[in-house]
C-alpha cells in the first residue's frame, strides 16, 4: 500500500475500524475542548486532513514542557496524533545530533516551505547578540528567525516561550524574551503554563491538524477553548468561596475540610487555564485538589508577581514591579500597545498578511 496521505488512510493502514475512527474523533474533539456537537465536523475534517510537518525548537528552557507532553496520560490517542504529525526536528527527542540534526531541520523547512508548524519551548536570550544560548553554533535568536521565515504558524509552548518565564524574571541576565516579541508576521499561539497541560499542547496541534488553522485566541494569544475561563470559575472549591468558608492555615479545620484556599494565596481568580477540568497525572488531581493554591503559572510574569502565599486581596504593596501590576490587572490584557500588537498579529493570522516593524512601531506609539 502506498504511504497514507490523509488521516483516514493512516488509520485504515493501521487497521483501525471506522468505529475506532469515531472514537478517535470524539476524543480529539474533547482534547480540543470543543463541544461534542462538533464531533461530526471534526470527523469530516479529519477524513481529509493532510500530514503536517512540525519543527520543534527547544531554547532557554528546562525540558519540563517536553516532559509534560511525553508523559501525557492518553498514549493511544496522542500517539496517533503524533505518529500522524511529522515531527521532523526535536533535538531532545531525535536520535541525530549536530550537523545531521540541523540538516533534518533544513530539509523539512525546504520541503514544506510556507506550510510547516514551528513549536518553540523556552525563551530566547537577545542580550549581547544572543550568545547565551546556542545550538550547533547557531544562536537561538538566529535559529528562530531562520526557521520561522517559512512557517505557517508558531506555537509557543510553555510560559518561557509565551511570556519569557523564569529566564525573563528579574533581573533577566540574558535579556530573555518570549517568541511573540520577535515574531510579528506569523500567527503565534501561546500555550502557557509551567509546564503547560499536555492535553492543551496536543489539543492545539490537533486543532491545526484538523482544521488547518490555529484556534481562536484570547488577549494574551492563548487558545480560548482552554484559557477562556479562570481556574477560580471552574474550581470545585468555588462553592466554599461563595459561602465565605476559607482555610486560614495549611493545617486548620478549613484545610482539612477542603475549603477555599484564597486566603492562603491561591491565584485561581486571576489565572486562566484548564487545570480544574483537564487535571494532571492521568486526571488524578490538580494543585488545588491536592491542598495547595494555584501559583498562576500560566499568567505573564508570574515569577515576579509577589509571594505565592500572599492573598490576592492583599494588593500589590511591596511587589514593586510593573510585572506585578500587570498580573494584578489580570484579564485586562495589558497595555494598549500590547493590544494593538495583538490586533495586528490576529489580522495577520486571518489574512496571512505581513506586518512590518513600521506597522508595529506605529501601533505601539
Amino acid at each position: 500500500m502506498a504511504k497514507p496521505k490523509t488521516l483516514a488512510e493512516h488509520l485504515e493502514h493501521h487497521e483501525v475500524s471506522r468505529r475506532g475512527f469515531l472514537k478517535f474523533c470524539a476524543l480529539t474533539t474533547s482534547m480540543m475542548a470543543l463541544p461534542p456537537s462538533m464531533i461530526p465536523t471534526v470527523a469530516r475534517a479529519l477524513e481529509t486532513a493532510r500530514r503536517p510537518s512540525v519543527i520543534w525548537l527547544s531554547f532557554q528552557e528546562c525540558t519540563g514542557c517536553t516532559e509534560s507532553l511525553t508523559r501525557s496520560h492518553s498514549p493511544t490517542i496522542e500517539n496517533l496524533i503524533f505518529n500522524y504529525l511529522s515531527l521532523d526536528y526535536h533535538h531532545t527527542l531525535q536520535a541525530a545530533s549536530g550537523e545531521a540534526a540541523e540538516q533534518a531541520r533544513e530539509a523539512a523547512m525546504a520541503e514544506n516551505h510556507g506550510q510547516y508548524l514551528v513549536a518553540v519551548d523556552g525563551s530566547i536570550p537577545v542580550k549581547d547578540g544572543g550568545v547565551y544560548s546556542t545550538i550547533a553554533g547557531i544562536s537561538n535568536l538566529e535559529m528562530l528567525k531562520q526557521t520561522v521565515e517559512g512557517a505557517a504558524a508558531v506555537v509557543a509552548i510553555g510560559s518561557c516561550a509565551a511570556f519569557g518565564g523564569l529566564p525573563h524574571a528579574h533581573p533577566n541576565p540574558t535579556g530573555a524574551v518570549p517568541v511573540q516579541d520577535l515574531v510579528h508576521d506569523k500567527p503565534v499561539v501561546n500555550v502557557s503554563g509551567c509546564p503547560p497541560i499536555p492535553v492543551v499542547i496536543s489539543g492545539v496541534l490537533a486543532h491545526y491538524l484538523t482544521f488547518g488553522r490555529i484556534p481562536d485566541l484570547d488577549g494574551y494569544g492563548r487558545p480560548l477553548s482552554f484559557f477562556g475561563t479562570s481556574i477560580h470559575d471552574r474550581c470545585y472549591r468555588r462553592p466554599y468561596y461563595n459561602k465565605g468558608l476559607f482555610a486560614e492555615t495549611f493545617d486548620d479545620e478549613g484545610a482539612k475540610n477542603g475549603w477555599c484556599l484564597f486566603k492562603l494565596g491561591c491565584k485561581g481568580p486571576t489565572t486562566y487555564n484548564a487545570c480544574a477540568t483537564a487535571k494532571w497525572n492521568q486526571g488524578t488531581s490538580f494543585p488545588i485538589q491536592s491542598g495547595h493554591g494555584c501559583i498562576g503559572c500560566s499568567e505573564p510574569h508570574f515569577w515576579d508577581a509577589g509571594g505565592f502565599y500572599q492573598p490576592l486581596s492583599a494588593g500589590i504593596a511591596g511587589v514593586g514591579t510593573l510585572a506585578g501590576v500587570a498580573v494584578v490587572a489580570g484579564a485586562a490584557a495589558g497595555t494598549a500597545a500590547g493590544l494593538m500588537h495583538h490586533a495586528k498579529r490576529k489580522q495577520a493570522q486571518r489574512q496571512h498578511e505581513k506586518v512590518t516593524v513600521a506597522d508595529l512601531k506605529e501601533s505601539g506609539s
Partner: protein, 138 residues
C-alpha cells in the same frame, strides 16, 4: 441547595444537578424531534461527590456493551432510558473520555458503512478461496 453556611463538612455538589437538568431537557428534545445530545463530562468541573451523585441518580439500565478498538470502550444505558454513559479507555485502561449521550442508540455502537464494506470484501475473499470459479466483487 440552601444558602445557609455549610457546617456539616459535607462537600457541596458542583455540577451534578445542572447536568441532570440538561439531561431532562435533552430527553424532551429527543422525544420531540429525535435530536441527540452529547455531554462531555471531562470538560465540566466535578466536586468530590458529583460523579457518585450522578451515577446514583441515573441508576443502571438494561444494556451494557463493550467495544474493543483503540483500547476498550464501555457503552451502558442508564436506568433512565435514552441516557447512555459512554466511557473510552486507552490500551492501559486509563479513562480517555467520558460522555453522556441522550439518544436511542449511540452512533459508536452501530456497525459502520466502511466496516461493513470491509467485512463484505473479507467474506467474498474467503469464499473465493473455497469457490475459486466465482468472480470476486471488487
Amino acid at each position: 441547595m440552601t444558602s445557609s453556611v455549610n457546617t456539616d463538612h459535607q462537600p457541596p455538589l458542583c455540577n451534578a444537578k445542572p447536568i441532570l437538568n440538561e439531561l431532562r431537557h435533552g430527553l424532551d428534545r429527543l422525544l420531540a424531534g429525535g435530536n441527540a445530545t452529547v455531554i462531555d463530562l471531562q470538560r465540566i468541573p466535578f466536586g468530590v461527590d458529583d460523579e457518585r451523585y450522578l451515577r446514583d441518580a441515573l441508576g443502571d439500565g438494561e444494556v451494557h456493551a463493550t467495544i474493543n478498538t483503540l483500547g476498550k470502550s464501555t457503552v451502558q444505558e442508564t436506568g433512565v432510558a435514552g441516557v447512555w454513559w459512554v466511557t473510552h479507555y486507552d490500551e492501559a485502561g486509563s479513562v480517555l473520555g467520558d460522555f453522556l449521550e441522550i439518544t436511542t442508540i449511540p452512533e459508536v455502537l452501530k456497525s459502520q458503512h466502511q466496516d461493513i464494506m470491509r467485512g463484505l470484501r473479507k467474506l467474498s475473499a474467503s469464499l473465493e478461496i473455497e469457490q475459486p470459479t466465482k468472480t470476486a466483487q471488487e
